[in-house]
């Protein structure tokens, strides 16, 4: 069963029933799910979680949807690996990578869509929809396929090939909009008023966002039931960042882990860094930007949860890191060459940020640091196309040796 009490407005505190709503009628502020935490604390335990399914649904007590009826493509329970090579190159002792690029549809979005789609079916919707630059589209289409629901996914027409294909293959109605991300955004928002569909990141958003908490839960469990000292997280809307923090704190309040003294670091690329820019200015007002970045999955110019992300930065003593565009592909290559993990630009931004944070001494060698790798490199191959330099030879022994002497 789920322990949801209802929704409340993050701006004015007004309460609402647990319905497909995302905005407060009164002040138009964003809504968030509330739970009966006493009831949760009385049932949860480490053993109960350890005996649960090997997916994010092992944390169902903290999620706003019914696990028994989950639309489940096995999201979550991804590897947390100790990154010794990368750690050594940065002079760190205890660095971990949370490899969420290996989710079923190859990004962390499976976590949020698992909750949103399950909730959508609970509410009686027969159609899932979203506006997306790719990862979300793929995840929504995959979950809809699994559930036998209809899917409409909206993307800007000029998206990377791998992301378009990675959504199309699941058979949704793929709507390629002739316009920018902003145009897709506005269109879907308008459509959601007229169509009785579950737009996972519009009318389902309060439930959807909660799915990201499972990343925080999982990392704490995988570290042996403790919170890390530092979390390095990519930011677009800022939702993932705030929910990892929320997850750690819920675990602590429920007595599953000790106190949380984690510092939260949010990473963006310079071509779209409204959250980092506001933080550096010591300001809580986000100035929207027109994104122009290689990290398309993080290209949100007007981040919905930007303000709340800034609050988390302040509360945890963390900071923001905006990396130059040319360091993004470099970060992808570093991760691949040193740890054998192939990530997309969002992960490149994280690795590039990690390097900067380690070198500037903002994260210390003896601290436990977790870097979140949230998307898969196979969807954005264009970005590292220059690594393809095969040694081309005739199929003879001599040709091989000759080629090798040319290219040591």
């Amino acid at each position: 069963m789920s322990y949801v009490k209802g929704l409340f407005c993050k701006e004015c505190g007004r309460e609402y029933p647990a319905e497909p709503l995302n905005v407060c009628d009164f002040c138009f502020g964003p809504l968030e799910v509330t739970y009966d935490y006493d009831a949760i604390s009385s049932v949860v335990s480490r053993e109960r979680i350890e005996n649960g399914p090997r997916s994010m649904w092992r944390y169902h007590d903290f999620l706003p949807a019914e696990a028994e009826n989950a639309i489940d493509i096995n999201a979550g329970y991804t590897p947390l690996i100790k990154a010794n090579n990368l750690a050594r190159s940065l002079g760190l002792d205890e660095l971990y990578l949370k490899n969420d690029a290996v989710n079923p549809s190859f990004s962390f979005k499976d976590r949020v869509v698992a909750v949103a789609s399950t909730k959508a079916r609970e509410f009686g919707f027969d159609t899932l929809a979203c506006a997306s630059t790719g990862n979300l589209a793929g995840s929504v289409a995959a979950h809809a396929a699994r559930a036998g629901m209809r899917a409409f996914v909206f993307i800007p027409a000029d998206l990377e090939r791998g992301k378009i294909l990675g959504a199309a293959v699941y058979g949704p109605t793929l709507v390629a909009v002739d316009g920018s991300y902003d145009d897709v955004n506005r269109l879907c928002s308008e459509l959601s008023d007229s169509y009785n569909w579950a737009f996972v990141n519009i009318n389902m958003r309060p439930y959807y966002a909660e799915g990201s908490k499972s990343l925080g839960f999982e990392v704490a469990e995988q570290l042996g039931w403790r919170a890390p000292d530092n979390c390095i997280v990519p930011g677009a809307s800022g939702s993932l960042f705030t929910k990892i923090w929320k997850g750690l704190n819920e675990f602590s309040s429920a007595g599953l882990i000790g106190d949380v003294n984690t510092r939260m670091f949010i990473c963006q690329a310079e071509g779209c860094a409204p959250i980092v820019t506001a933080h550096k200015a010591g300001d809580f007002a986000i100035r929207p930007v027109k994104p122009n970045t290689i990290a398309k999955s993080l290209a949100i110019g007007n981040p919905a949860d930007g303000y709340f992300a800034l609050r988390v930065l302040e509360a945890t003593g963390g900071s923001g890191c905006a990396v130059p565009e040319e360091e993004v592909a470099e970060g992808i290559k570093d991760l691949a060459e040193m740890e054998g993990i192939f990530t997309e630009p969002a992960g490149g931004v994280v690795v590039a940020s990690l390097k900067r944070l380690a070198r500037s001494g903002q994260i210390k060698p003896w601290e436990t640091t977790v870097a979140f790798i949230t998307g898969n490199g196979y969807k954005t191959q264009e970005v590292v196309e220059d690594t393809v330099r095969p040694v081309l030879i005739k199929p003879t022994f001599a040709a091989f040796e000759e080629a090798l002497s040319v290219r040591p």
């Binding site: 995302n22 905005v23 138009f28 997306s132 928002s189 007002a285 949100i300």
Partner: protein, 80 residues
């Protein structure tokens, strides 16, 4: 009659301009402000517009042409 929620973000040079007042006068739309944060160099206003669909559309086009950024209130729908 239709209703539309929107977030206007004003660049520095427009903060002192009565854009919302003008919107209500140039077009047949009623504006109803719900939340706002206006600083010296940037400002945003979250409001509801009420009027005929086409009139709202024309009004928003005019606001955009003035240099104001318009976003949906449902937050940024754009995620990858």
């Amino acid at each position: 009659m239709a209703k539309r929620r929107a977030k206007f973000t004003f660049p520095t040079d427009l903060i002192t301009e009565p854009v919302i007042f003008d919107l209500g006068h140039k077009f047949q739309v009623v504006t109803n402000i719900r939340r706002a944060d206006v600083r010296e160099d940037v400002g945003w206003v979250i409001l509801e517009l009420e009027g005929e669909e086409e009139e709202i559309e024309r009004g928003l086009d005019w606001v955009t042409s003035m240099g104001v950024r318009i976003d949906p209130v449902s937050g940024d729908v754009i995620e990858s």
